[in-house]
């Protein structure tokens, strides 16, 4: 991959990668570590990507794996971190901005397997079929995880609309 191409891909997808990392990691420092690792992997990746969408899916897959790896280390499993508290997140005055912040908080509280499915469905607008391909899961599994994730989101967020 040429430097120009690499910079173009970063410009296109850096934000998406970071958001996936952010909702999978417990603090922004881990998310930034994941982000950097993913982009370094992209730089050293020798494969020829067919389309931009192909790169995006590859990046999503690598980001999810990196997040998983970061939490599977012994240190991370055994050590409790003082999580970064965002004071705004505690406000529940019902305004649009506070509701929005709570969405992120709610997603972070979901189990890991629901988090990625929910994020890919609601943020990246992928269909169940596409998510199943990206995460290499069965469609029925994705459907189930999506449904359970939605139910949890409903429990965690008052503003979340019931889709049934």
């Amino acid at each position: 991959m040429t430097n120009e191409e690499y910079l173009r891909i970063i410009d296109l997808y850096a934000s998406n990668i970071y958001k996936i990392a952010f909702c999978n990691c417990k603090n922004k420092y881990d998310a930034e570590d994941v982000f950097q690792n993913v982009l370094l992997k992209l730089y050293h990746e020798n494969r020829k990507f067919e389309t931009d969408e192909h790169v995006k899916r590859w990046l999503i897959r690598v980001t999810v794996n990196e997040c998983h790896n970061i939490w599977s280390s012994f240190w991370k499993r055994k050590v409790a971190f003082i999580t970064e508290n965002r004071p705004e997140a505690a406000y529940t005055d019902g305004t649009e901005s506070t509701r929005c912040l709570n969405v992120v908080q709610a997603v972070k509280q979901l189990p890991e397997k629901y988090r990625n499915v929910i994020h890919l469905f609601y943020y990246e607008d992928y269909s169940v079929k596409e998510i199943s391909k990206i995460l290499r899961l069965k469609e029925s599994t994705v459907q189930t995880q999506l449904m359970r994730g939605r139910n949890l989101m409903k429990q965690l967020l008052e503003v979340w609309n019931d889709e049934r």
């Binding site: 952010f22 909702c23 969405v103």
Partner: protein, 171 residues
Amino acid sequence: MMKDKNRQLYKAGFEGIEVSKESMEKVLGRTVYSKRKTGHWKMKLVIPVCVVMVLLSSLSVGAVNFYQSRFLKVFFVEGIEKSERASIQKKLLKTDGVVQVTFEGGDEAWEAFQKEYLQEIDISQFKENPLKNSDCFNVRIANDVDYKEMKAELAKLQGVRLVNDYQDKEE
């Protein structure tokens, strides 16, 4: 409909969550703006490993050559008497730089040769020992002695037909 509302809500929630400039600069500094082309860590190890292997192999070859160069074979003129052979042995032992002198008879040499090279060959065709005239002294010389000089010195002794070192073919 509700799905779309949730999508809007979800997307709005992630607005403003962007990677920091420092983080982005770090990545770019290690990739496109890096002065040196970074490779995979395994690839980085290839050259040092090759260098170490070459050094080790040349060291081991050098050590073997040095060890072999510490031995000379002193052959006698044909029909030499035992007493003359004994006097050669004495002279050898008196020579500075000679550590050890051992006699190797032609029969002994033939047996060793058979064991090493003729195990699968019918040796009955050899009616007599072809190495009967290859009685010699195996002379071990000191480590600090130049084997070429020692070889030349020993070749001057009376009753000595030939001195071979590890590089020569035995005659």
